[in-house]
């Protein structure tokens, strides 16, 4: 099991800070340091720093970069300005997910796709397979980048003295290139926590000094290293999808309630026919946010039941540390997806009540 497990350049930092390391997506990653709840609260109220070096980066270059990306991605890439980023789905021809990803636009001939670690090889293979007829070069740069996310209301204050980049000038979902702690980086105002914050992409050999500089500068602000555990609860409160839980190759982009990244009018793309048909005929099921009414935590994979019959499933579920409620996401038959509708979850032989609620569960004050 442990052979071939990769380490990020920050592995020694995680050990130094008491990180509990677990195998995740082929990497040895910290699931927690001080504790999931404490780390979660630090991100909501001060700041947290995450090693996300395991994420994949795929570069797309060439004169046909735009039409190529328009074919493989569901969002409208033509809408991106230079230096802008958007969230999108890498779709199969049946409208389901190869993966979800961010697209960074440098210019019309140059883009960077940021994908899930567990899917990098699969995504890269899929991207290559789709290049027929396009003058593009697709390169897997995942080993060339380390990535550190600094998230929370104090993130900007911590990063400011460490960089020559004008952080005020970076709007939400935009990026720029510049120096952090003297090293060349990509700095984007993005994240997976529902907070303001930045993601810094650097060369692997620069990761430790950037991490250490952030930790030092962040000390007076209450910055804490945060692991995969907090990353999961933070993203869930913000209702950001997790591949393998809420979205995968059995769920379509529309079923996942991601219509806003599904631009059916932009022209053809992989899966458009299926998605268009789904839209016209109406969905049979959809992903919704819920809150437990009865005591209990509905977790990934638990069934949604009606008189003993399975009618849907929980895709994600947890105690929400900031909201202090038991929340989750579930695929429900469309007739049960109205806000306020009650349904039952099968938890260890019992049928416990939950209800559909508005999402995101948590929205930061701007």
């Amino acid at each position: 099991m442990t052979e071939n497990i990769k380490k990020t350049p920050l592995n020694s930092e995680h050990r130094k800070h008491g990180g509990r390391l677990v195998p995740f997506a082929g990497f040895e990653m910290p699931v927690q340091y001080a504790g999931v709840i404490e780390e979660h609260m630090a991100v909501r109220t001060a700041a947290g720093i995450f090693d996300v070096s395991h994420m994949g980066e795929i570069e797309v270059k060439g004169p046909d970069a735009l039409p190529y990306l328009q074919k493989i991605s569901s969002n409208n890439v033509a809408k991106l300005a230079d230096g802008q980023i958007h969230y999108t789905a890498l779709t199969y021809t049946n409208g389901t997910f190869v993966d979800d990803m961010l697209i960074y636009k440098y210019d019309e001939n140059h883009y960077l796709l940021v994908v899930n670690a567990s899917n990098t090889d699969k995504d890269f293979a899929w991207c290559q397979k789709n290049t027929d007829g396009f003058d593009v070069k697709v390169t897997n740069l995942s080993d060339k980048y380390a990535q550190i996310a600094i998230q929370g209301p104090k993130a900007q204050a911590i990063l400011t003295p460490l960089t020559d980049v004008d952080l005020d000038a970076i709007k939400y979902y935009w990026f720029t290139e510049g120096k952090v702690e003297g090293a060349e980086c990509i700095v984007s105002r993005t994240g997976y926590t529902g907070e303001d914050g930045f993601e810094v992409y650097c060369k692997p050999e620069d990761a430790v000094k950037i991490w250490q500089a952030m930790m030092k500068e962040g000390e007076k602000y209450g910055l804490q290293p945060a692991g995969l555990g907090a990353r999961d609860t933070l993203r869930l409160e913000a209702k950001m999808a997790l591949y393998g839980n809420d979205i995968d190759d059995t769920t379509t982009v529309l079923e996942a309630d991601l219509g806003w990244i599904c631009k059916l009018k932009k022209g053809d793309f992989n899966g458009r026919d299926v998605l268009l048909k789904q839209k016209e005929e109406g969905l049979k099921r959809m992903l919704v946010g819920f809150e437990m009414v009865d005591k209990g935590i509905a977790r990934h994979g638990y069934p949604v039941v009606d008189n003993g019959k399975e009618i849907g499933y929980i895709s994600s579920g947890s105690f929400a540390p900031y909201l202090k409620r038991n929340i989750g996401l579930a695929y429900l038959p469309i007739e049960l997806t109205e806000i306020g509708t009650e349904f039952k979850v099968g938890i260890r032989g019992k049928e416990l009540k939950a209800k559909v609620v508005e999402t995101p569960f948590y929205k930061r004050e701007k």
Partner: protein, 128 residues
């Protein structure tokens, strides 16, 4: 660190025996391994379980674990405080975070449990 008068199971439950009654919880080691406890599901007084049977579940933010009966017995009382303060299991695993009080059915089963010294060594071996 582990109370000298308690007995322990290899599933990391402790049992504080007083005559034919015992109070049971999970050890500091188990609580630490689980992380932040957010939900504890306990049985009803009057329920009976055999040794090794699941009497409840404990959930951290990340995971669900079963709770195992240390010896055959009947539930006399449960720790009601855990319903609203499951974090007591983290902050005070050997005292305020107790889970059930049981009537011990077969005293001879106590001999199969570990004392605190043996348990401490057992935990050290697990950490390897």
């Amino acid at each position: 660190m582990y109370p000298a008068n308690y007995l322990f199971t290899d599933e990391h439950e402790w049992l504080d025996v007083d005559g034919l009654e015992g109070v049971c919880g999970i050890t500091d080691f188990a609580a630490e391994q689980l992380g932040d406890i957010v939900f504890v599901e306990l049985p009803e007084p009057g329920d009976t379980f055999s040794k090794g049977e699941t009497f409840g579940t404990i959930e951290s933010v990340k995971a669900v674990s079963d709770l195992y009966m240390p010896v055959d017995g009947e539930i006399l009382a449960i720790n009601e405080d855990l319903e609203n303060s499951p974090e007591l299991v983290n902050s005070s695993p050997h005292e305020d975070g107790w889970m059930i009080k049981i009537a011990i059915k077969d005293e001879s089963q106590l001999e199969e449990l570990m004392n605190s010294k043996t348990y401490e060594k057992f935990v050290e071996d697990q950490k390897e």
